[in-house]
Structures are given as structure tokens and as C-alpha cells.
């Protein structure tokens, strides 16, 4: 019998580059828009501008910007699950809420000393991710697909909301922490950095803003690398044609479950940060309206590209808040109109379309050979 290794290289030179270099190379790639020095120059300038801007602004505006940054993690997570993985989750808020409550319970019981709030943050995110993995296992290994994923996830978040809303009584407590039903849990400390000469409490303001900005930048770059890694390629392949992906030897279920877990962990990160930001978390943050919001951000921004998702989310959050301030009663009408407009005229998302028009940034799949 002949050697069946038909196309495999006989003596290809081994790739000697270090793992880090490989990962850095993946900052650019087919699954993400933007490549070349011009793009990175623009990105660097944007980061610089974001870093410098508290110097020219007031505390409120900076705190408000920090608040917007809080939500971007959930949006990027949904971008991965929906935009790249093709599974529309209507229940990211379930993981958001779970992690938010977990942060509250942990920090109320243990306190903020020795930087414990950060450990609590990590534990909460892990819990959100683990719960998402569990739900993901249940769904994807149960051959649930399409719109039914949306319905299952929505049901999960509504169950959590309905349950949490009735935990007002004193019997609903975990250690020191009262769940406090519909009125919500409060009294947890904000994120606190151990600092020589006294802990640094990250109230909404410049310090929290910088911490969040760093986290958003890291998370964004990390996702770019992951999406351009084999994992991202397979995820997109599954979105495009799950049957074919399976026939290439991929366990589609595992990839989808992992993507869903990642999305859940990122939603959890937003949830824990939100709780730390406002020192407050309610069941209504897992309700129908809250559950729909991330979908709106991602849809309007653009789900097919992580950069569009990030920028779009910030844009939509700002626009909606401004509408509420200046549009009074008409704000919700304008939001609805914005959604309709997006879906009908810029189905790939407003930011995505704009970026594509901008052209110079290049687009996935247009490289000729390497």
C-alpha cells in the first residue's frame, strides 16, 4: 500500500518562531478588519486619545465613559458567539447577572482588603463562564440550533430574573449578603487596588476609567488573536457551514460550546464590573429589555467584526444616552427607528459598513497569497 500522506510535506522546515511571535502575528488576520501600519497607527492614536482625554474633561464625563466601557465586554462576547459563531444568544444577561450577583456576594462577605475585589472579579467571571459552558453543553450537545438557541437562552435569563425578583425576604441570604429581591443588592465595595499608603478605591472617575480602558484594550487585542488563530477560523467555518465543518473532522459542538463559554465569561466580566461600578445589581438587569440591549448594540455596530462591535457598542450607548437626555419621550421611538434603519439599510451594521467603505483598512479575505 502506498503512503497516503499525499500532500503532507516530506521535510518541511520546522517553524522556529516562538509562540509569542505566532500569537502577535495573529493580531492581524482574515477574521478581523484592519491591518497594516496605517491601521495600527490609527488604533494607537485612538488609544492615546482615549488615554489623554480625562485630562481635558470633567469627572462626570470620565465616569460616564467608564460606564460605557463596562458594557463593551458583554458586546464583544456576543460578537464572538453571534457574529463569529453564528449562534444568536438572547440571554447573555443571564451570565451578566449571575456574575454581578457573585461579585456582590463575594465582596460583601469578604470585603475589599488585600485586593480581594479583583479576585472576586475573576471568580465571578469564571462562574459566568462556567455557567455558560454548562448551558452551552446542554444546547449544542442537544442539537439545539438556529432561533431555538435564542429562545432557550432567553428562557434561562427570564427564569433567573423571575426567581431573583422574589428573594426579598431575610431568608434569602448568602452569608452576610442579602439578595434583596427586586429592589436589588447593594452595599458591595467598588474595585479596590492595594496601594502603598492606602488602598486605591476605583470609584467611577479617572482611575476606574484607566483600569477599564486597559482591560478593554487587552480584551480586544486578545480576541483579535484568538479569532485569527485556528479557533477563530473554525468558528467562522462552522457559522458558514456546520455540516461541512464536521466533515472536516471538527467536533462542531465543542467549538460552539467553547465560544459560548467565552461569550458568557465576557458577559460575566461586564456584570461584575457593572456591579462594582454602581455598587448595585438587580434582577431587572436579567429581564427582557436588558437582554435585548446587547443584541441591539452588536447589530447596529456590526457583528461580523470585533472592531466594529466594540466601536459600535460605544457609539450606540452614547447615542442612546444623548437621545434620552435631549429627546425626552421620543428617545425610545428614535431607538426603534435606528434599529429598523440599520436592519434595512446597513444590515451588516452601521460601523461595519462605514469601516468597509473606508476601504483603506483592508478587509478579510482580500489578500492575494502570503
Amino acid at each position: 500500500m502506498n503512503d497516503a500522506r499525499t500532500f503532507a510535506p516530506e521535510a518541511a522546515p520546522r517553524d522556529r518562531r516562538s509562540g509569542l511571535a505566532v500569537w502577535l502575528r495573529r493580531l492581524e488576520g482574515p477574521q478581523t478588519m484592519g491591518r497594516g501600519s496605517l491601521f495600527w497607527l490609527a488604533a494607537g492614536l485612538a488609544l492615546l486619545a482615549a488615554a489623554a482625554y480625562p485630562q481635558f474633561s470633567d469627572d462626570y464625563t470620565v465616569g460616564n465613559a467608564a460606564y460605557f466601557l463596562v458594557w463593551t465586554f458583554m458586546a464583544m462576547g456576543l460578537g464572538v458567539v453571534w457574529g463569529y459563531g453564528g449562534a444568536l444568544s438572547f440571554g447573555q444577561t443571564a451570565f451578566f447577572g449571575l456574575a454581578g450577583y457573585a461579585y456582590g456576594v463575594l465582596t460583601i462577605n469578604v470585603g475589599a482588603a488585600y485586593g480581594f475585589t479583583w479576585l472576586a472579579l475573576i471568580l465571578s467571571v469564571a462562574l459566568g463562564g462556567a455557567f455558560a459552558l454548562l448551558i452551552g453543553y446542554f444546547m449544542f450537545f442537544g442539537r439545539i440550533r438556529g432561533v431555538f438557541i435564542g429562545i432557550v437562552t432567553l428562557s434561562v435569563t427570564l427564569v433567573l430574573e423571575t426567581f431573583m425578583a422574589q428573594t426579598a425576604g431575610p431568608q434569602w441570604r448568602i452569608g452576610e449578603a442579602r439578595l434583596n429581591g427586586f429592589n436589588g443588592m447593594s452595599g458591595m465595595p467598588p474595585l479596590t487596588l492595594p496601594w502603598p499608603g492606602g488602598d486605591l478605591v476605583l470609584y467611577p472617575g479617572a482611575q476606574l476609567y484607566y483600569a477599564l480602558l486597559a482591560m478593554v484594550a487587552l480584551c480586544y487585542l486578545g480576541l483579535r488573536m484568538l479569532l485569527n488563530a485556528p479557533f477563530g477560523n473554525v468558528l467562522v467555518a462552522i457559522r458558514e457551514n456546520p455540516e461541512r465543518a464536521e466533515m472536516l473532522g471538527y467536533d462542531v459542538r465543542v467549538y460552539q460550546m467553547l465560544a459560548f463559554g467565552l461569550g458568557g465569561a465576557l458577559a460575566g466580566l461586564s456584570g461584575a464590573l457593572y456591579t462594582a461600578w454602581g455598587q448595585y445589581i438587580t434582577p431587572s438587569s436579567m429581564g427582557l429589555t436588558s437582554a435585548a440591549l446587547p443584541i441591539v448594540w452588536v447589530a447596529v455596530g456590526g457583528r461580523r467584526d470585533i472592531t466594529a462591535t466594540l466601536l459600535g457598542t460605544l457609539l450606540v450607548l452614547t447615542a442612546f444616552q444623548q437621545l434620552t437626555i435631549y429627546g425626552s419621550q421620543y428617545a425610545l421611538v428614535a431607538m426603534g427607528a435606528l434599529l429598523l434603519f440599520t436592519v434595512l439599510l446597513a444590515p451588516d451594521g452601521v460601523v461595519y459598513t462605514a469601516m468597509e467603505r473606508l476601504g483603506r483598512l483592508g478587509r478579510p479575505g482580500r489578500r492575494a497569497g502570503r
Binding site: V147, S155, V296, V343
Partner: protein, 290 residues
């Protein structure tokens, strides 16, 4: 006598839950089951039907006519919406979710701005009837009858009329239907309008029993979705048994453990059914029948 009264009470509770599920889900089931569109503005069609019913009834129209008026107006609004928005989204089901949600936002808040935060309702007609030592609302018995009539009517429409046959053919094989000279766009438009009209009918039927506010449609949403999902794509084979099963779950849990468990039980039932029967009850029943 005591036993008969208890039996009646149980049947009444079951029938009441069943009627609510069937009536509120019919419009959604037609639109989702036949067209594959998840219509998040379903609740707003219900609200539309309820508002029109209340307005016309208070203007002096007899209630049954007012309810038909509500259904008709909701249906016309639905056809207009289909033409303006939904038509462009048939090949993008996830986008149609977002678009209909946008419509729902506009409708809810628009009604609030134009008509105010609340509207006077119409009282529940017919009064009560005593069975044993308890009394029951006669109108709710009428609703149960309406639910059964609705199912029968839909069956007749889709299996015994020309429109129904053409609609089913179009939805199953659009290209083929087009090749046979069917104006498929018109069929889609009419089907969506029918779904909207059924939602309006639900609003009209329940208008006399509920508070009239712009957000009233939202209270129907969870139940309708749950029923449609558990039922699966075929509304006749699926929705009716789904409504029956869910009504039993809901009425049972509510009676034994209270409203909280009734509510949560419904949602858990959905998750479990989707997990065990991905195609819903209708796919399961069809397979078993073969």
C-alpha cells in the same frame, strides 16, 4: 356534588390556561410556523387589537363586532408592516427579530405619546355563574369556546380553502409555487396579515379582562413564545397539544405551588422540550405517525 364542583373547578382552570395560550399564540404561530419569522412586535399587534376593540366598543359598537374590528385593524397594520419592512427580511430571520423589536419599541412608546399612558377599558360582560360554592366568570367560559373555535377555524382555512392550500404550498416550495403562477409576495403579505389579525383578535378577546396600557402586549409574549416553541413549526399538529400540555403544567403548578412556580415551570418546560424534541411537538408527532 362536592366532587362535581371540584372537577368543574379543575377543568375551568385548565380550560382558562389553555384558552389563554391558544388565543395568544395563534398569531405568532402562523407567522413563525409558516413564515419562519420571529415577530417580536406580536405583543404590539395584540395591544393594537385591544385598543381598537376598547375604543370602538366604548363608541357604541357591540362587543363582538368591536373585537372583529380590532382584529381587522391589526391585520391591516400587519400587512402594511409586511410590505414596508418584513418583506425585505425573509432570507435574514435573525435580522427580522431585530427589526420587529424596533417596531415594537416605536409602537409602544408612540402609543404612549399619542394616546397617553393609559386608556379606559371596557368592562367584562356576562358576569358570573355559581357552581357549587364558588363563582366563575362566564366570559372566561366564552374565551374557552373561542379558543376551540379559533383552532377549528384555522384548520378549515388552511386545509379546506383555496387560500390555505396556496399558502401552504407557497411556504413549502416558493419557487415551485411561483412557477405555477402564484403571486408569492401576495401570499406572504396575506399570511403575515392573518398572523397580525389573529394577534389583534387575541387583544380584542382579552381587552375586557385587562388593564389597557401601551405595554400590555408584553404580558402575552412569554406565554405565546413558549407555546409556539413547544409546539414546533406546524401550528395544527403542534400548537394545540402544546397549549394543552403547558396549560396542565401551568394550572397544576399554580394550584399546588403558587403563581411563581407556574411562571417558572412554563419557562423550564420550554428548555426541556427544546432539548428533548428539537423540532417541537409537531415534529415528534409527525414522526410517530409515520
Amino acid at each position: 356534588m362536592e366532587l362535581a364542583a371540584t372537577l368543574f373547578s379543575t377543568a375551568y382552570q385548565f380550560g382558562d390556561a389553555f384558552a389563554f395560550l391558544v388565543i395568544s399564540c395563534a398569531g405568532l404561530a402562523v407567522i413563525f410556523g409558516m413564515m419562519g419569522v420571529i415577530n417580536l412586535a406580536h405583543g404590539e399587534f395584540i395591544m393594537c387589537g385591544a385598543y381598537v376593540t376598547a375604543a370602538t366598543a366604548r363608541a357604541g359598537l357591540p362587543l363582538p363586532l368591536a373585537i372583529l374590528c380590532g382584529a381587522l385593524v391589526a391585520g391591516l397594520v400587519g400587512m402594511a408592516l409586511e410590505r414596508a419592512v418584513i418583506r425585505h427580511l425573509y432570507h435574514r430571520p435573525l435580522d427580522s427579530i431585530i427589526a420587529t423589536w424596533g417596531v415594537s419599541l416605536i409602537a409602544t412608546q408612540g402609543v404612549l405619546i399619542v394616546l397617553g399612558s393609559t386608556m379606559q377599558g371596557v368592562g367584562t360582560p356576562l358576569g358570573g355563574v355559581a357552581v357549587g360554592d364558588r363563582s366563575y366568570s362566564l366570559y372566561r367560559l366564552v374565551l374557552m369556546g373561542a379558543a376551540v373555535a379559533l383552532l377549528a377555524g384555522l384548520y378549515w382555512l388552511f386545509y379546506r380553502t383555496r387560500f390555505g392550500v396556496v399558502a401552504r404550498a407557497t411556504i413549502e416550495r416558493p419557487q415551485m409555487a411561483r412557477a405555477l403562477g402564484v403571486d408569492t409576495r401576495r401570499v406572504y403579505g396575506l399570511t403575515f396579515g392573518l398572523g397580525a389579525a389573529l394577534a389583534g383578535l387575541a387583544g380584542g378577546l382579552y381587552a375586557p379582562t385587562m388593564t389597557m396600557v401601551p405595554t400590555m402586549g408584553a404580558t402575552f409574549m412569554v406565554e405565546s413564545f413558549v407555546t409556539v416553541v413547544v409546539g414546533g413549526a406546524d401550528i395544527f399538529v403542534g400548537a394545540a397539544p402544546a397549549a394543552a400540555i403547558l396549560a396542565a403544567i401551568r394550572a397544576g403548578l399554580t394550584a399546588w405551588y403558587g403563581q411563581l412556580f407556574g411562571q417558572i415551570g412554563l419557562l423550564v418546560a420550554v428548555i426541556v422540550v427544546i432539548r428533548i424534541l428539537p423540532g417541537g411537538l409537531s415534529a415528534f408527532i409527525k414522526r410517530a405517525r409515520r
